[in-house]
């Protein structure tokens, strides 16, 4: 019976099959004698179209296709944290023990360890009436992370029995529940189809700031928890470094890092660096809140397409527990290209640059899964998405960038010019934007400083003026400008080099605390205001620049680690001192 489906045709990762057993769209199947993992993506009158998540080389027509009756799903339970999975949710360390250093084919694997026991503490008792998505207990998964065990969303009823506090595997029964369909047994493990978003009670407004420790983002182009940002940029402009920075330093509870069609070494880098880095808030190894999905550029292109869904499903699961989750997807363009490649093999009618006409709607579906919600557990949780975009030819007018722009709230545009001058992060202050300023203002007022919004406005004003003046000095040179305009240029230089630049590899500056951000901004604006006073007294601007304090302001960020922010504010008195000395000479 199982053998009644056969391969008809193989065209790269796409195969056609025929046979009597009906298959469903989205159903997971195993293909060929090697039982390669695959998914049904189309059903035609006389054949079924299947995309295969592993290399199809040497696969032959006539080989069998095995149905499973189940959609492509991911396992959700304790054991996820610190793990690294491939694009279809197989743990890479398990594959390494089975297959060795290289990825081979046909290894079926469960997503999570079946043997390991977890210390489970129930939070419901016999007789409780509970509904789908509610918290039924807790497992301390890492020293940093409390895994809240959820009742699967589809089940509700009265608790018949609960296991007491003890150690259980994820498959052990922990609860029996009387539902309308009879008594059901519940374990910690649930499976969820990756292409279906998980249900919640309602959407909430995004109000909390996603603090990233990156000045240009937090100060100028912030996003809230639950927000969506895109990082478009040509090759080598800093998409991956920025994503890594966010994964390291942003104040989400859980980080899901999806390496989608990018370099193997970049995943290795995360795996080697993160366990050694410490969360600035909790002071625990960063790996204890991180999950990696790796589908590198040389792994099968179809699994690249699914890796994004695998990542976002994991994120929703933790959101439903009441956590703030941030998903980094590097790069969404590779995912879009995977769509294009599959669409091409299906000979669909292309829209722009060979991309399928449904590119926009697929992007929308993905980004729609972000947001803050009131979860079925009655807790508030959020999923933020930060997607890298890799525009062909660095041309932001290409389809993926343009379509992405429709669904995001913050656009962090990377600039080739800045990157080649090694101004990092090369995030352009002229082309980037954030639509979330109003969302995060209350947060800044409360936890940061209520001067943020006025400082931000003043900085943006100076940078915009600088932009205009730069056009003029390209033609006449800076010397011909009046002193008040030259002061704007100089202050903008301080903002660019002394504030916006932030080296990811300088341990003092890779993470910038709120205090550091505020005191640097205040210092530079103070310098500007005081300089204007000097100009009024007729002191030439070049005299002011020549003061040692000017270069000191440029350097202070690189020298000031967390905890020593007061050194920055103290420079204000040096400004006073040097400026008043200067005054006495006039």
């Amino acid at each position: 019976m199982e053998d009644s489906i056969r391969i008809l045709r193989i065209n790269g990762p796409i195969i056609w099959s025929y046979g009597d057993t009906p298959l469903k769209i989205g159903e997971q199947v195993f293909v060929g004698n090697l039982q390669l993992i695959a998914e049904v993506i189309g059903i035609e009158a006389d054949h079924t179209i299947i995309q295969v998540y592993e290399d199809t080389i040497e696969l032959k027509p006539g080989e069998p296709v095995y149905p499973t009756g189940l959609p492509l799903s991911i396992e959700l339970a304790p054991g996820l944290i610190s793990s690294i999975f491939d694009g279809i949710g197989r743990p890479l360390d398990y594959l390494a023990t089975k297959e060795g250093d290289f990825l081979k084919r046909g290894t079926h694997s469960e997503g999570l360890d079946r043997e390991k026991k977890w210390e489970f503490t129930p939070s419901v008792k016999k007789g409780d009436l509970i509904s789908g998505g509610e918290i039924i207990g807790n497992v301390k998964e890492t020293s940093l992370f409390n895994h809240r065990i959820l009742l699967p969303p589809s089940i509700s009823g009265r608790v018949v029995s609960v296991r007491e506090h003890d150690e259980y595997t994820i498959e052990d029964e922990i609860l029996q529940i009387e539902t309308s369909k009879g008594t059901e047994s519940v374990s910690m493990l649930q499976k969820w189809p990756v292409r279906t978003s998980r249900p919640f009670i309602k959407r909430l407004q995004n109000k909390k700031m996603l603090f990233t420790g990156q000045r240009v983002l937090d100060f100028l182009f912030p996003i809230p928890k639950g927000g969506v940002a895109a990082i478009p940029g040509g090759f080598g402009t800093g998409k991956t470094v920025t994503q890594h920075q966010l994964a390291k330093w942003s104040d989400a509870d859980i980080i899901i890092y999806v390496g989608c069609g990018e370099r193997g070494n970049e995943m290795t880098q995360v795996l080697t660096e993160f366990p050694e880095l410490v969360d600035p808030v909790t002071e625990r190894p960063l790996m204890e809140r991180t999950i990696l999905i790796a589908n590198t550029s040389n792994m099968p292109v179809t699994a690249r397409e699914s890796s994004i869904y695998t990542g976002i499903t994991l994120a929703e699961y933790f959101r439903d527990q009441g956590y703030d989750v941030a998903v980094m997807a590097d790069s969404t363009s590779r995912w879009a290209e995977a769509l294009r490649e599959i669409s091409g093999r299906l000979e669909e009618m292309p829209a722009e640059q060979g991309y399928p006409a449904y590119l926009g709607s697929r992007l929308a579906e993905f980004y729609e899964r972000a947001g803050s919600v009131l979860a079925l557990s009655h807790r508030e949780g959020s999923v933020s998405i930060i997607g890298a975009v890799s525009p062909a030819g660095s041309d932001f007018s290409e389809p993926v960038t343009q379509n992405t722009k429709r669904f995001i709230g913050a656009f962090w545009a990377l600039s080739k010019e800045l990157a080649s001058a090694r101004h990092f992060p090369a995030i352009s202050w002229t082309d980037s934007y954030s639509e979330y300023i109003e969302n995060v203002k209350p947060w800044w007022d409360q936890f940061g400083n209520d001067k943020w919004s006025s400082f931000r406005n003043r900085m943006m004003y100076l940078l915009t003026e600088d932009q205009r003046l730069q056009q003029i000095i390209k033609i006449i040179g800076a010397d011909s400008l009046p002193d008040d305009q030259r002061l704007i240029l100089e202050t903008a230089k301080l903002i660019k080099q002394g504030f916006l630049q932030q080296s990811a590899i300088n341990p003092n500056d890779a993470y910038s605390s709120i205090e550091k951000q505020m005191s640097l901004a205040e210092l530079i604006l103070y310098y500007y205001d005081e300089s204007r006073e000097l100009l009024k007294k007729g002191i030439p601007v070049i005299r002011i620049w020549a003061l040692p304090i000017t270069t000191e302001i440029l350097r202070i960020k690189d020298k000031t680690p967390k905890g020593e922010e007061h050194f920055i504010s103290e420079l204000k008195s040096r400004i006073n001192k040097e400026f008043s000395e200067l005054k006495t000479r006039y």
Binding site: I7, R9, I10, T56, I57, E58, L59, K60, P61, G62, I84, D93, L95, A96, D101, F102, L103, K104, F235, G236, G259, G261, R263, G264, N265, M267, T268, T272, A294, T296, S297, N298, M299, V301, R334, E337, E341, G344, E347, P350, Q353, G354, S390, A392, G393, S394, K416, S420, A421, R422, H423, K474, I475, G477, D479, I505, T551, L554, R555, K559
Partner: protein, 454 residues
């Protein structure tokens, strides 16, 4: 494996042919195509159907006629015979010996497609390689296990730079490289240049050549780099050697890929190139690096020609998205006689940050390189201004930048193809040129570094 043979093909289109009535032929299987004189060509199955197969013929379909053609299926995908004996040998673009010397002992037959390395098994590369070239060592450091391509333009001396890297590269305290060289569609004299130069310096038994020349079948080029990388993986991961792979010219490779795609009537993405060009290139470039617990390594230098010197053309663009940086050659510098004509601004080594600095190269390396970049980027702005207002009207600060720029290009970059500089010399030279600028401009380096090195 049973060999299956069919006579007659249904359709011929460009490098493709359709054979019908086939049975049990696997996807990607190797195909022998025999013309009416029984001359053999090789091909590969692109679509395997219950009733027909679509075959891509590497040597082209010229002079094939439908009824007389015989097609033979071997039952496996394209393979390359590895063994210690490949060292010192010259192969053709399909991995067959072309040096008329006796065959070597094949220890294994490996599929040329290779397998992806499990990311958790990779060893992150961080060992500095001294190439002796200042603009690379100082500013775009090459790391053992890195893929760092050269973006060239028609007529620019990328081959001389590649040869310079291959002959001068030293691992501080490590052993020398074995070189695997793959030529795709290059002219005969260029191939000879490499064979001679590499055999001379690394010793003829420390290099392997795969040559597909300009006048040889274009489609064959699709296999050439795969054979070379299979050889490299064997040398690195089985025999534990440090391998430097040089592949030239990736643009010809991509054109061959495009030819097949067009014949298959695939939907193109950009400039006629297929949508899977990125994945295809990645399947080559990612075959680089180091593996935990294995002593060898693969370092890859792919050379490509930017059509019209356009870095946004799909071939350099997609390459840059996959590789760990790029070395970009520049026509203006070449015209000025500055060699190797490396334009450092668009050049990049992504692995540099992890392989340099205190305990690795020198403590000032990171900041010095950042300072040189910042200053040189500024030179370009000032040159643009000077072009409008004239150099005389520049401020004295701007004039010092102009002087810095000229000396940086002439001395730091323009060392010549035959000069080898120690890293120490490179860094000190960088500092000495920075002396042209006032101290207050040197904000990317620390005060301590200025005290110590300026």
């Amino acid at each position: 494996m049973s060999v299956k043979e069919y006579t007659g093909v249904e359709r011929i289109n460009g490098p493709l042919l359709v054979v019908s009535g086939t049975k049990d032929i696997g996807f990607g299987e190797i195909v022998e195509v025999l013309d009416r004189n029984s001359e053999k060509r090789l091909g590969q199955v692109l679509i395997a159907d219950m009733n027909f197969v679509l075959v891509q013929v590497f040597e082209g379909t010229k002079n094939l006629d439908s009824p007389a053609t015989k097609v033979r299926f071997i039952g496996k995908s394209v393979q390359f015979a590895v063994g210690k004996g490949i060292l010192g040998r010259i192969f053709d673009g399909l991995g067959r010996l072309r040096d008329n010397l006796p065959p070597y002992l094949a220890e294994d037959f490996l599929s040329v497609n290779g397998l992806p390395i499990n990311p958790i098994k990779r060893q992150y590369p961080e060992d500095f390689i001294q190439t002796g070239i200042s603009s690379i060592d100082g500013l775009n450091t090459l790391i053992r296990g890195q893929k760092l391509p050269i973006f060239s333009g028609a007529g620019l001396p990328s081959h001389r730079l590649a040869a310079q890297i291959a002959t001068q590269s030293r691992l501080l305290g490590g052993e020398d490289f074995v070189v695997v060289f793959a030529a795709m569609g290059v002219k005969n004299d260029l191939a000879e240049f490499f064979v001679e130069k590499l055999s001379q310096t690394s010793g003829s038994s420390r290099s392997v050549f795969f040559l597909n020349l300009a006048n040889e079948p274009a489609i064959e080029r699709i296999i050439t780099p795969r054979c070379a990388l299979t050889a490299a993986e064997y040398l690195a991961y089985t025999l534990g050697m440090h391998v430097l792979v040089i592949m030239i010219d990736m643009t010809s490779y991509c054109e061959a890929l495009r030819e097949t795609a067009i014949a298959k009537e695939e939907v193109p993405s950009q400039k006629g190139y297929p949508g899977y060009l990125y994945s295809d290139l990645a399947s080559l470039y990612e075959r680089t690096g180091r593996i935990k617990g294995r002593s060898g390594s693969i370092t890859q230098i792919a050379i490509l020609t930017m059509p019209n010197d356009d870095i946004s053309h799909p071939v350099p663009d997609l390459t840059g998205y996959i590789t760990e940086g790029q070395i970009v050659l520049d026509r203006r510098l070449y015209g000025l006689g500055i060699n190797p004509p490396i334009n450092v601004l668009p050049s990049l080594s992504r692995l540099m940050k992890d392989g340099i600095g205190k305990d690795k190269t020198r403590e000032d390396h990171v900041n010095l390189s950042s300072q040189l970049y910042a200053a040189y980027a500024k030179v370009h702005e000032i040159r643009a201004l000077a072009a409008i207002i004239g150099e005389e009207d520049l401020s004295s600060l701007d004039r010092s930048y102009i002087e810095f720029g000229n000396r940086f290009e002439k001395e730091f970059i323009g060392q010549g193809f035959d000069v080898e500089r120690k890293l120490e010399e490179t860094l000190n030279l960088g500092w000495s040129i920075l002396r042209i600028l006032p101290r207050s401009e040197l904000t990317r380096v620390t005060e301590e570094e200025i005290e110590r090195y300026l």
